[in-house]
């Protein structure tokens, strides 16, 4: 059984991990291969600040809310383990600020100690009259992805640096199952008008006295298009913009100026912070995550693909829940093929 995964961002790597965990002892031999042209530290996942936080509202996507929660609980289970630092996981508290009262967010049950901000606290943030405080998790891609790759390599998963031009290419070379974790470029493999880049630009600064994340919400400008400040383990990530349809991977000085001015207004102490670098990334935005099986007909036969892409600005936040779901879909496929016994024995 050969599984080929396209994409080595957090989605591709965690999907490989879930599939290995669930099936390496139930299917023998199980070959897992990861194909990508970009690896850590150059993936979209690497540039993200790494704060676990979904968008405020799930618009009825209850599955996504569950996957987000599953991911939070999964990451939280490592907090007291010796691996937490090597995985890039740590707790951080912070503020979600709104210009007017808003309904409570979808993630209020998942995080720790969720509460409304008091009037006194809001006085620290002129222009914002409402908001919440909670403790959430950080999961830093630049640390987590190398940890995942190492975990996978130790278990025999192999990696190939290549651009995959079509699903057929992998099917022809012997893949029994293809898992599409190609993020924003999935449209190159199969056109998807619902998938769009949502360009983000961030500024990394040295401001180690900042110990809380601050995310502002503006109902007129939309998610991540208003200032946010997210301290990391080394540097602070300052953003942001959310430019739908913009494929430009170059840093824009106009965006830099807008982001910096807004952030300094929000957090005056930033004025004395040392700017280290800018970074631009393309969030794989979609109306909802595409996580489903597809049978693709090619010539006389058909082959199977599991799609796992379109995680917008919440890939790290939702990755584990989606990886487990992708593994479940793979298990469904194996059962249908009669490759999985109902009562799983540990070894053949």
């Amino acid at each position: 059984m050969k599984v080929c995964i396209i994409g080595a961002g957090v989605i591709g790597l965690s999907t490989a991990q879930s599939i290995y965990q669930h099936f390496h002892s139930r299917v023998s031999p199980l070959t897992i291969e990861v194909y990508a042209d970009i690896f850590t530290p150059l993936t979209t996942s690497d540039g993200a600040a790494g704060l676990w936080q979904p968008y405020l509202y799930d618009k009825g996507n209850v599955k996504e809310t569950q996957w987000n929660k599953d991911t939070f609980n999964y990451l939280l289970s490592f907090i007291n383990s010796p691996d937490s630092v090597k995985m890039g996981i740590f707790l951080q508290s912070g503020y979600n600020l709104c210009a007017e009262p808003m309904p409570e967010p979808s993630f209020k049950q998942a995080v720790l100690g969720f509460r409304q901000l008091s009037k006194r606290e809001l006085e620290m943030f002129p222009g914002y009259s409402f908001g919440w405080f909670n403790t959430a998790l950080m999961i830093e891609g630049k640390t987590y992805l190398p940890w995942l790759m190492n975990w996978l390599k130790q278990r025999g998963v192999t990696f190939f640096q290549r651009t995959i031009d079509s699903f057929k290419e992998l099917s022809d070379s012997g893949a029994d199952m293809i898992i599409n974790c190609s993020g924003v470029r999935s449209g190159d493999l199969q056109p998807d008008p619902e998938l769009q880049p949502a360009r983000g630009q961030i500024i990394k600064v040295d401001a180690p006295w900042l110990k809380h994340w601050v995310i502002t919400h503006d109902s007129t400008s939309g998610v991540y298009d208003s200032p946010y400040i997210i301290p990391g383990s080394r540097l602070v990530t300052v953003g942001g913009v959310f430019q739908v349809g913009n494929w430009n991977r170059m840093n824009s000085s106009v965006d830099h100026k807008g982001i910096w001015e807004a952030a300094c207004k929000l957090e005056p102490s930033l004025q004395h912070a040392r700017i280290v670098e800018d970074w631009t990334g393309l969030r794989p935005a979609r109306s909802k995550v595409r996580l489903e099986r597809e049978a693709i007909r090619s010539g006389g036969h058909s082959f199977e693909v599991i799609h796992n892409y379109g995680h917008g600005g919440f890939g790290l936040t939702i990755h584990r829940g989606c990886a487990e779901e992708a593994a479940r879909l793979f298990g469904q496929f194996l059962e249908q093929k009669g490759l999985l016994t109902a009562q799983a024995k540990s070894r053949l």
Partner: protein
């Protein structure tokens, strides 16, 4: 013309802020700050600087509340300004946890800090030895930055600084109209005040930049305070102990207790000991 000559003895956080307060508020005073030790060698410099009051049984509670409230609001204004990083003042959130439920679950300062509440069961899961906890956001004031910043303010309004150990207040009184004694532990010798006594504390400075929230055991013996450049981990509370040298057994005890509360500290490098 500055007619009143004021001497402030001691350049820790108490002396320096007193000197600045007088110099900035009373223009008819000329203020001279006299101290043997200055930052980074004062007691204040070693403190983590978390704003978390202790209740003094023989001072009226309303006074303590007023003093803390004023301090908090004053420092909050600095934290909220472009000066925050120079002054070393910023917001800090965290937990105070208790092995046994304390008699006084809501201390006198609960409404003066931000967002004071009891920890949820979900939050307490991380601390299996502890039954109860408080979560809140307070301020941290790091004297390694704050004292030099105050010194600049003092000099800017014409304050004078003398590096000298004061041993005789009567002699000092010959040259000054008023003396403010902020000599801390030094008052024991200076005023022959036997009620002043040392409570020895030892800490470690760890490099653990992923730690953002503080954890303090309500018994006061174990605490983890993430700072600007390092995490202060402690501690000890040894009354009448004058030793300034590091105690190896104290260090081991501190590490063992703090790693139990925050296992990720195992991955931290030791930057220094105090």
């Amino acid at each position: 013309m500055k007619r009143v000559k004021v001497a402030v003895v001691g350049a820790g956080v108490v002396g320096l802020s007193t000197a600045v307060c007088i110099a900035e508020t009373l223009p008819y005073c000329s203020v001279t700050l006299i101290s043997e030790k200055f930052s980074p060698h004062t007691t204040s410099d070693g403190a983590a600087g978390i704003l978390l009051p202790k209740e003094f049984p023989d001072i009226p509670l309303e006074w303590q509340q007023q003093w803390f409230k004023k301090s908090f609001e004053y420092l909050l204004a600095i934290a909220d300004s472009p000066q925050a990083s120079d002054a070393g003042v910023y917001l800090s959130s965290g937990y105070q946890i208790f092995k046994d439920v304390p008699r006084d679950k809501k201390p006198f300062w609960a409404d003066l800090v931000f967002g004071f509440r009891y920890m949820t069961d979900h939050e307490l899961k991380r601390f299996p030895d502890h039954k109860f906890g408080q979560a809140f956001t307070t301020l941290k004031c790091e004297c390694l930055s704050y004292l030099p910043w105050l010194e600049q303010r003092f000099i800017a309004v014409g304050g004078r600084i003398i590096h000298e150990k004061v041993t005789d207040l009567h002699k000092l009184a010959l040259n000054y109209d008023a003396i403010i004694n902020c000599s801390g532990l030094g008052s024991r010798a200076l005023l022959k005040d036997e009620e002043v006594y040392p409570v020895r504390g030892q800490i470690l400075k760890l490099h653990a930049p992923w730690l953002k929230n503080f954890i303090r055991d309500g018994d006061g013996n174990t605490y983890i305070y993430p700072g600007i450049r390092f995490v202060s981990v402690g501690g000890t509370r040894q009354a009448d102990d004058w030793r300034m040298e590091l105690d190896e057994r104290d260090r081991e005890g501190i590490l063992e207790r703090s790693v139990r509360l925050e296992p990720s500290l195992r991955a931290a490098a030791i930057l220094g000991l105090l």
